[in-house]
């Protein structure tokens, strides 16, 4: 094959960054729920998939991608909150494993429900007209839609960061994650906090699904791979750490992209290799606090 030109290399690097942004978006909902509730939401992939279907439905019905973009996170948040309220909540205080197992079972149910409602085949989702086509980014052409996804990711992260680090509600969330009893005694209805966090996490999962739909189409199985990616990014970044998720997502994306250039067969393993290395050097992840889980 041809030699690798500097221009190709630059484009490849940028592709990796863009892919990383998508990965961050996939991981951040998982990371949020984990960091705040110490719950690993195994149904994260399922919510991602539901987001894609919800987005598709709204898009079909209203004819507007943008309405879908707003409605989708709301819809998945509502479902997520219902799940928290009626299922997960019963498990608080029963050890970290049970919510994980519950959501694992829930994922089965959700995927199958979608198969019943929408069928087993995939569905097409069109890229919104204004974002179709590729734009010149100086080093080559790049799909406009992917640039848009990066922008949305950045916006979501900014909002989330501000919310968690700078507001009182964020303070409550962070405290509630560690010692809910105390927070309760200080006058806060913790159950509402949990509800909100779970809803926020699933909202982001749904948004990610909706945003991914024009990239990869929709199918009931689309959540499966997402879960793995989200896990790797969360572990590499350090659980519950926003900056960690960002750094890890981009690291994984770039590594995968460069692997695809030099040794394509290894593209998919690359993220696991990174993870193994990180674990060896910093078991708590790049930005993780050690002892958080002990």
């Amino acid at each position: 094959m041809d030699a690798i030109t500097p221009q190709l290399f630059a484009l490849q690097l940028f592709t990796g960054l863009a892919l990383g942004a998508v990965y961050v978006l996939l991981a951040v909902g998982l990371s949020l729920i984990f960091g705040m509730l110490t719950i690993v939401n195994f149904a994260h992939g399922a919510f991602f998939m539901l987001g894609a279907y919800a987005g598709y439905s709204v898009y079909q019905y209203s004819g507007s991608f943008w309405i879908g973009l707003v409605a989708t996170p709301l819809a998945t948040a509502a479902l997520g909150m219902a799940v928290e309220r009626f299922l997960v909540r019963r498990l608080y205080g029963r050890g970290i494993d049970y919510p994980l197992l519950l959501t694992f079972g829930l994922a089965y149910v959700l995927v199958e429900l979608v198969r019943i409602v929408f069928g087993k085949q995939g569905l097409p989702m069109e890229t919104p007209e204004v974002l179709q086509g590729a734009v010149d980014i100086g080093i080559g052409y790049f799909p406009a839609y992917r640039l848009f996804v990066i922008a949305v990711t950045a916006a979501v992260l900014a909002v989330l960061w501000f919310f968690i680090e700078k507001t009182s509600f964020g303070l409550i969330i962070r405290a509630g994650a560690r010692d809910p009893q105390i927070v309760q005694i200080l006058g806060v209805d913790v159950s509402k906090v949990w509800l909100a966090v779970f809803g926020a996490g699933t909202a982001i999962a749904g948004l990610a699904g909706m945003l991914s739909a024009p990239l990869q189409g929709i199918s009931p199985e689309m959540g499966g791979t997402v879960l793995t990616v989200a896990f790797v990014v969360t572990v590499v970044g350090g659980m519950g750490s926003l900056p960690g998720a960002i750094a890890a997502g981009i690291l994984v994306g770039v590594a995968e992209s460069l692997a695809a250039l030099f040794y394509p067969e290894a593209a998919k393993v690359s993220m696991f290799v990174i993870m193994a290395l990180v674990l060896l050097i910093r078991p708590q992840g790049l930005f993780g606090r050690s002892g958080l889980l002990s």
């Binding site: 009182s168 303070l171 962070r174 405290a175 560690r178 105390i182 200080l186 806060v188």
Partner: protein
């Protein structure tokens, strides 16, 4: 202000509190004494709503507490310094203090409140941005008290606040309680430092095996040789 009548409470199936009767009047400091395992902590936890399996009557400002979820009790003006301090990990000292007021009407006047606290506890002032759990045991205890005071409650329940505090500060702490009392706060104090506790209390209850076995004015108890021998020996 706080009136407990015939309170029974359970951990699982073990019956811990067996008919407690206790009263704290507005502006009083009342001590709750007794040996380990007597049920002091359990009593306080029941009042705060941390133990849901309870019956009897617990009234605060004439409201029935047992029916209220824990977070609503805070709104009535109750504050609590728990036994093992329960400083929230991962948060800084400042954030722990802020946590004390997020749900109260003081939230808007955060700066003021923090300043006031810092005045009372100079040690905390130096450390406002340290991760709270890395502070020493005594520093954490101060923080726990500071957090409870932040919301300017009407009544404070303190569970062994002097535990792990150095002698110099223990004196100061009890002085602080006296000052609080003068400022009109009501205090229910669980202490093993019996003598010091009685000195600042109006009245005291002695608990044993989940029952009140003795109740009297603090001064009488201080004079009581049996009590002296039994509880103030160290």
């Amino acid at each position: 202000m706080l009136s407990i009548q015939n309170l029974n409470a359970w951990y699982g199936s073990s019956h811990i509190l067996q008919g407690i009767n206790l009263e704290v009047r507005r502006g009083e400091v009342v001590s709750l004494l007794g040996r380990n395992g007597a049920g002091k902590t359990t009593t306080i936890k029941t009042v705060m709503g941390l133990l849901r399996k309870a019956n009897g009557s617990v009234r605060f400002k004439d409201r029935d507490l047992l029916g209220l979820p824990a977070h609503k009790r805070f709104g009535l003006g109750l504050a609590y310094v728990p036994e093992e301090r329960r400083i929230v990990p991962g948060l800084s000292v400042l954030e722990n203090i802020r946590l004390g007021i997020v749900a109260s009407d003081k939230r808007a006047r955060e700066k003021e409140v923090v300043e006031q606290i810092a005045e009372t506890f100079p040690r905390l002032k130096e450390r406002l941005h340290q991760t709270a759990v890395t502070m020493s045991g005594g520093e954490q205890q101060m923080l726990a008290i500071a957090r409870a005071l932040a919301s300017d409650p009407d009544m404070i329940l303190l569970d062994e606040p002097s535990e792990g505090i150095m002698p110099l500060l223990v004196q100061e702490m009890f002085e602080l309680f006296s000052r609080l009392r003068k400022a009109g706060k009501t205090i229910l104090l669980v202490e093993q430092n019996v003598e010091a506790a009685l000195r600042i209390s109006d009245r005291a209850y002695i608990l044993d095996q989940g029952e009140v076995v003795h109740a009297d004015s603090a001064s009488a108890l201080l004079r009581d040789p049996v009590i002296q021998e039994r509880y103030c020996a160290v």
